[in-house]
Amino acid sequence: MSLTNAANTPAVAAMKLRAEQLCVAFERDSKSVSVLEDITFDISDGEFICIVGRSGCGKSTLLNVLAGFLAPTSGSVIIDGEPVHGPDPRRILVFQEHGVFPWLTVEGNIGFGLSKLPRAEREHRVAHYVQMIGLQGFERTYPSDLSGGMKQRLQVARALAVNPDILYLDEAFGALDSITRLAMRKELLRIWQTERRTIIFVTHDIDEAVQLADRVVVLSSNPARIEDILTIDIRRPRNISSPHYLELRDKLLEQIGQAYTV
């Protein structure tokens, strides 16, 4: 309700998303269990944000609230000055796995959100994103014949094809092997740098967060509160064995409550 705050923010980048005192509680055995408590942060346009926390801490719940799939018990999500009331094609959620439609081919999946476009435009866009994710030659292939990494690239392409302002990724690379995961991170960074979209990426992988994010939101557990918001001030392309990288990574590990020796 404070007008002064909203009016006096001629920031460098425009504010894209604001989470305001989000709380989520579920009913369990007729008791109310709090999952998210008092989550407040701002994300500016074009920013790459990672949300990390222990597994089961409520990261995905938070993402579902931000994407409009779940209404918060209290508080609100404001995007471009408007409160979020539900899912919207301007912001697409990419799921961990099995998110592509198995009954559609690669082309059909990428073109899924484009049915309102004229045919020529649609085909052009589908071809563009097939190219971008390197699936040329697989246009008519069904997802069951693709590898896990290909399916995730396809899911990202399907999301990007509708030209969303915000991309939400829910542990999108979590089910992939570590080599594919590295390749996917590079790919995502490349796409982000060419298309400049706001990305909110939930992960339980600390390295992933430090490699990708501009800022990392660290959540505590039971219920999830914001522990810290860490700015990753390493220039891209990031050297992942530089002392500063390791320092930031260790700090994150510590905040999550893990020692960095095995």
Binding site: D88, W103, S144
Partner: protein
Amino acid sequence: MRLKLHVQPRPLLFIGVLLICWQIAINRHPGQLLPGPLSVLRAIGDLMHSGLLLKYIVASLFRVTWGFALGASLGIPLGLAIGWNRRAEMALNPLIQIFRPISPLAWIPVAILWFGVGDMAAVFLIFVGCFFPLLLTAMSAVHNIPALYIDAGRNFGLSPFAFVSRVLYPAVAPQLVVGMRITLGIAWLVVVAAEMIAVNSGLGFLIVDARNAGNRYDLVVAGMVIIGAIGLLLDLGMRSLERVKSFRWSYSED
């Protein structure tokens, strides 16, 4: 779409051996218990010759087609709607569960009361036999749609119509095809029973008529063999539907 009939030599050989044993046993102990394969074959030949066989097959298939089509066109959309709508399900499920275990054959007197002896009564019985299995298949198919697909569909801002045709329908189609295959089998069981009582044509009528009119057990067994063969063909036909690429996705899950 490929319909590949794997004709395997070994099972056929085995059936051949069984038939020969049957014939030998009949020859050694001629009696009233069962006709031999040769006389059954002769009976089928007679039926074909008189044109009765084709007439009865067409009559039975006609009833199955209508009963099944009516059951599917009412049961599937209704099942999808009820499955989707939790409140409708809570309201209607007890009723469905009460009607479901009633054998379609229990409806025979009611069918005759309502429609008289004739095609309509038989079609109605097959309809009853198809409606509930298809209704339940459609309901459970909706429940089994992974939430992911529903969320992804919602995310892309589809109109309700587009959501049904582009997410809901393709997601349930494979399960519906399986349910329809099983239900068609039920329909084929029900038609024989219905024809024994409610009409005077068809393969079921053939069987009961052959017994009543002179204990022609060769015709009875001939009718059974024909019923089995057509049932097998119907099932193979429905199976080939399962191989359509856009339905097949759930069978080849990674």
